[in-house]
């Protein structure tokens, strides 16, 4: 959750200060522990990993290779197809979340914040529950549900008259990735729901009442009044989804293993990194190429975040409520 709230950059800060006060030194004392911990556990490893990606093993030690590893990652007939395949799969993973998870999250949030709903807290808790479950449990539950041998999935589809459409999706090259994406959507739909819910609660009732008095339909009220007001949250949700999806690893690893089968069809950057860095079965680990892949992941995520900060946040209009 690195992304900060969407309002900070555009919110107006009081520039006029009466008198110049001395720099409050005690602030340093309060910030120091966080800065120290963050530096030791986040900043230093990140830069050390980037440094490692500039080296290549030679003999017993390693030599400086410049950007050679990155060139190899992008052009080598061994690495390039795996890398671009993983990037493509990550984009599909992201697209499914954007098209399914976030709209559903928004719909649920609107439903939750509708007036006259009873048992709101119960629904909210239930819908958010999967998010706090471990990946291992989620992966295991869904593998069992979708298992062609013992799963309840086929039986339930038969009850609905759709038994003929059941397939062993997790084992099929085409549908496996989308299936996994939807499992992840099921798990994380609670996060956008809560963010949207909070944004919706912040909209004063007067706005909606005024719109109704003016004769706007519910549909129109939503698109003309509510949606523009929660637009900053839409941006936050999008960037959180992007960062989360490009860092994804656990679910694919628990369900399909490090080889991300069938035939690498669910291989995303996380699993590719894992196999390369730590090795797999008889394949020995390659720390420098692994660091290179994590460097590429860092660049991709950075590009997305920068796009968000400099394009979206500057354009989007924030209304003071």
């Amino acid at each position: 959750m690195e992304a900060t709230g969407g309002r900070g950059a555009t919110g107006s800060l009081p520039h006029r200060m009466g008198t110049r006060r001395p720099f409050p030194a005690h602030i340093l004392v309060f910030i120091a522990p966080a800065v120290a911990i963050y530096t030791v556990f986040m900043v230093f490893p990140l830069f050390d990993s980037l440094r490692l990606s500039l080296y290549a093993p030679q003999g017993g030690g390693s030599v400086f290779a410049g950007l050679g590893n990155y060139v190899r990652l992008l052009t080598d007939p061994l690495y390039a197809p795996r890398f671009w395949g993983a990037v493509r799969h990550n984009l599909v993973f992201f697209a499914v979340h954007m098209l399914v998870q976030n709209p559903i999250g928004l719909i649920l949030a609107v439903a939750l914040s509708s007036r006259g709903l009873r048992g709101r807290a119960v629904y909210r808790t239930l819908l958010f529950m999967p998010t706090v479950l471990s990946f291992v449990i989620v992966g295991f539950i869904w593998q069992l549900i979708l298992s062609p041998l013992w799963g309840v999935g086929e039986g339930m589809m038969r009850l609905a008259g759709l038994g003929g459409y059941f397939r062993p999706w997790l084992g099929m090259e085409g549908p496996a990735l989308v299936t996994l994406s939807l499992i992840s959507v099921w798990q994380f739909v609670g996060v956008p729901m809560l963010l949207f819910h909070a944004a919706l609660l912040a909209i004063p009732d007067e706005f909606i009442e005024a719109a109704r008095v003016d004769g706007a339909s519910g549909w129109m009220t939503f698109w003309r009044i509510v949606f523009p007001l929660i637009l900053p949250t839409v941006g936050v949700v999008a960037i959180l989804t992007y960062v989360g999806n490009f860092n994804a690893f656990d679910l694919i690893y628990t369900v399909q293993g490090a080889l991300a089968g069938p035939n690498f069809s669910t291989d995303i950057l996380g699993t590719l990194f894992y196999r390369t860095f730590f090795g797999f079965q008889l394949q020995l680990g390659n720390p420098t190429m692994g660091a290179t892949i994590s460097g590429a992941m860092f660049a991709l995520i950075m590009a997305g975040v920068l796009l968000y900060v400099f394009v979206w946040q500057r354009r989007v209009q924030v209304y003071e409520l």
Binding site: S147, G171, G257, L259, G261, P262, N263, Q281
Partner: protein
């Protein structure tokens, strides 16, 4: 407080008593520690194997100290680097142990008495690339074959198939009866297709060691007919797999078989102990069926585990004594019976109490043995041969990749980095 005091006194006396008892033991007793990843085998070592050794050599005390399998390699490396490794070290086969030997952590064992009980295949997992120096005493191997449900075979009047034609006919008959799935294997985890499929039936085609060595020397290629036909045969299994086999994982296959819902399980002998506990029916086993025209049978008798000596141990004499005992018949018998499905690699004649395990080990007399062809030398580069075999074998079994193309992909990958030494 008043109640605590007597208790504390008792404790103190007890501790002193313990120390005195320890002190009264023979002063020259030496303790050896075994590093291992087999924490599953802890009870067998503690209750059966080590007491037998210590009875014979009362001056040596041996402690079996396993770590978790996934942590073993890293933990062992760290211990050896820090100089705190145990005196005896359980050896993984091939490159992992070879690296330890090259770093000087494992002692050479060429002159160890009893090493003559181990043949070339047995030594192959723990030998230098030039074939000159052995550095671990081979302990056990696992054998591939097919385990079947005896009740289903009896019901349908089937006998153990000897040829591939008979094998497919049997599968046909089981399929037509419709009560159980003919073959319990899936492709979701990929490795079963390669290990229990390709490496199981393959040696009959490439003539075991002959083909394996030829691959290493570069005289044979995966695109040769003896390799392509293995994949062709695997592709023929597809109609007999359970429905939804694409998403069937390894534990699914095991459960299918032990629940009596599948007739034949392409197996490794390591399954025996688990199947014994879970299956409620008679089990039998047969060797990989012979391809048309073949007369000699070959089986995969894959080297799995060995034990070596820390080069920096403070008790080299005692450690060697233990290793010499490991080469003997007594250890072979205790180990193979304690862990059914893991078979001694020595040439001692032993009898096993588990009839299924005995069936597997009997094959050594009638068939020639070999190891999995991707393990020695050929999986050192990228793309990794073993991983490639997993992938293409699963794809071939699913019908997503034609056998000839699978062979071409594997060979192209290997050619990228492997230069055969002539």
């Amino acid at each position: 407080m008043r109640k605590v005091l007597p208790l504390a006194l008792v404790l103190v006396f007890a501790l002193v008593g313990c120390q005195q008892r320890q002190a009264s033991q023979p002063a020259q007793q030496v303790t050896l520690t075994i590093e291992s990843w087999r924490n599953d085998d802890l009870t067998v070592w503690q209750d059966t194997i080590l007491p037998a050794f210590m009875k014979k050599y009362p001056n040596i005390k041996v402690v079996f100290a396993p770590t978790a399998p996934t942590e073993y390699n890293a933990a062992l490396n760290a211990k050896l680097e820090g100089g705190t490794g145990g005196d005896l070290i359980t050896c993984r086969p091939f490159d992992a142990s070879l690296a330890l030997f090259n770093k000087g952590y494992l002692a050479p064992l060429n002159d160890l008495a009893g090493m003559e009980h181990f043949g070339d295949v047995a030594r192959s997992g723990w030998i230098t690339d030039d074939g000159q120096t052995v550095f671990c005493v081979p302990m056990a191997s696992v054998i591939h074959g097919f385990i079947y449900n005896g009740d289903v075979f009896k019901q349908l009047g089937l006998s153990e198939p000897k040829t591939e034609a008979e094998f497919l006919a049997a599968l046909d008959k089981i399929k037509q009866s419709g009560s159980v799935a003919p073959l319990a294997i899936g492709t979701a985890d990929q490795w079963e297709a390669a290990t229990m499929g390709f490496q199981n039936i393959g040696p009959n085609y490439w003539k075991g060691e002959e083909g394996r060595q030829a691959l290493i020397r570069g005289e044979q290629k995966f695109t040769d007919p003896q390799y392509v036909s293995v994949w062709q045969q695997l592709a023929k299994w597809r109609p007999y797999l359970p429905s939804g086999f694409q998403a069937q994982k390894y534990p699914d296959s095991q459960n299918l078989f032990t629940l009596g819902k599948a007739a034949i399980y392409p197996a490794g002998s390591w399954e025996i102990a688990l199947f014994r506990r879970q299956a409620q029916f008679e089990m039998g086993a047969f060797t990989p069926p012979l391809p048309a025209g073949a007369t000699d049978c070959y089986i995969s008798d894959h080297v799995d585990i060995a034990i070596g000596m820390n080069a920096k141990t403070t008790h080299p004499q005692e450690a060697r004594t233990f290793l010499e005992w490991v080469t003997g018949a007594e250890f072979a018998e205790l180990y193979s019976n304690g862990l059914p499905g893991f078979f001694t690699l020595s040439n001692h004649k032993i009898t096993l109490q588990d009839p299924l395990a005995q069936t597997f080990i009997n094959w050594r007399d009638k068939c020639k043995t070999t190891i999995r062809n991707s393990y020695q030398l050929l999986s050192r580069g990228e793309p990794n041969l073993e991983n490639e075999l997993w992938r293409v074998s699963a794809e071939v079994m699913k019908g997503a990749l034609p056998p000839a193309q699978a062979a071409r992909q594997v060979q192209t990958g290997l050619d990228k980095w492997y230069k055969p030494k002539q």
